[in-house]
């Protein structure tokens, strides 16, 4: 396994400009630099409001940074997420860059099993293989079998979160962004997620995470990263 970083964030700045609030500007961070190598799990530290989620979303291409670059190793070459055309960003997201958010975006009428299988099917896996992997993960995450054929719209917060986790760990994304994936889980389920994370790290994934539970953070972090060091002047 080469130790070439899978993510290189360089000189990243983000300032929100609210045009409909008299052009108010909200500077978040500037000059931010971060590299993550295979097998590393960098945990973002700092109190809430410091810009951890903003950084995470900027790396995913969900927010548009004001300056700087986010380079992700994709097909052996670095793609700058902040400048790549939409179809290329989508391709990087489909094959390289996974994102586990706190919330599941529910699509009406699609069953839990289908939802979890989707990322594998989109990457060319056969339905049989995808189904087996999905059932295995949902079982490991202890989601009751009776739920598997239902759309997750009516599930509890913790159940939806487990569906989301299954969906993100069903394939081995080389890079994973974890935005409080354990926020509404009990201790036993948190332990299962820790296991999944460690397994992925062992396989050479690079991760950036936000965790508020100290036990999870201590168990998975290889490095802490303080976003507040790059706080932009207001």
């Amino acid at each position: 396994m080469s130790n070439q970083p899978l993510i290189m964030v360089d000189g990243l700045a983000k300032t929100f400009i609210l045009h409909n609030a008299d052009g108010a500007t909200i500077p978040v961070f500037e000059g931010l630099r971060l590299e993550v190598a295979p097998g590393e799990c960098v945990v973002l530290a700092g109190e809430s409001g410091v810009g951890k989620s903003t950084l995470m979303r900027s790396i995913y291409g969900n927010y548009l940074p004001s300056r700087g670059a986010v380079r992700v190793l994709h097909d052996g070459a670095y793609v700058d997420i902040t400048r790549a055309p939409p179809h290329q960003v989508l391709d990087v997201r489909r094959r390289t860059l996974g994102y586990v958010s706190q919330f599941l975006r529910v699509i009406p009428r699609i069953s839990t099993l289908q939802l979890v299988m989707e990322p594998l099917l989109e990457n060319g896996a056969g339905p049989q293989e995808a189904r087996e992997r999905a059932e295995h993960l949902l079982g490991a995450l202890r989601l009751p079998k009776a739920h598997w054929d239902l759309p997750p719209a009516t599930f509890s917060g913790g159940e939806q979160q487990r569906v989301n986790i299954a969906r993100s760990f069903i394939r081995n994304y080389p890079v994973l962004l974890l935005d409080e994936p354990t926020a509404s889980l009990d201790a036993e389920n948190r332990a299962i997620v820790v296991q999944l994370v460690k397994q992925a790290l062992g396989n050479g994934a690079a991760m950036i995470g936000i965790f508020h539970d100290r036990d999870v953070r201590d168990a998975v972090a290889t490095k802490l990263f303080s976003v507040s060091e790059y706080k932009a002047a207001a």
């Binding site: 045009h19 969900n62 927010y63 939409p86 094959r95 699509i107 009428r109």
Partner: protein, 265 residues
Amino acid sequence: MNAIPQAIEAAPLLRVDGLTKWYGHVAGCRDVSFELRRGEVLGVVGESGSGKTTLLNCISGRLPPSSGTVEFDTSRFGLTDIYGLNEPDRRRMQREEWGFVHQNPRDGLRMRVSGGANVAEPLMNLGNRHYGKMRSATVEWLQRVELDTRRIDDKPRNFSGGMQQRIQVARNLIHGPRLVFMDEPTGGLDVSVQARLLDLLRELVRDLGLAVIIVTHDMAVARLMADRLIVMKDGFVVETGLTDQVLDDPQHAYSQLLVSSVLQI
């Protein structure tokens, strides 16, 4: 790493350049340029009067622009300016390679013939004459859009609005188009019917690998369907980008207003 086929190829299927349409001294759309790739879904959003429908009509060969070009990668001539083609060739290309789903099913269906005939007609227009084959293709498509095939001979007016819209969708997909235009396809439907149709459209688009240009003023529809968005105001494109980026971190004052005006439930 296993080798995975690229779902979206690099060559453009459609290239729009400097498209402008004047109605007298009023601009419908001004200087619009973009490219669309195979399998890509482009959403066009903006309030009424922003030029969305003018743009869609110009691109789909239904309204000649005042200036600018619309090039499509036709199967017969390669990448060609569609307004440079003669009328019969352009019509043939529209019939063979495109679909157009209207907001009002009455604009897209022939109300005097049966639902089944509406679905089968594009096949006849392409020269199919084998009645049995067309009938079985029609039955298959009625099933794909979740309509009761026993009603194949009913007239469109005897179907509900949501069902009429699904007949229209089947009619526009049965001939295997590569590019489908949709003008507020869920606009006139109530919410539960809308969700079902959207879901169906989303699945079909993905399964068939269609390129789609969908005009909508509904941000939820845009988020569910589109890979990327064009935001229009006063005929101009004010912002473009990845759908979730435009909706979650809009840059232009008007996009910010548009997104912040959505009611939460």
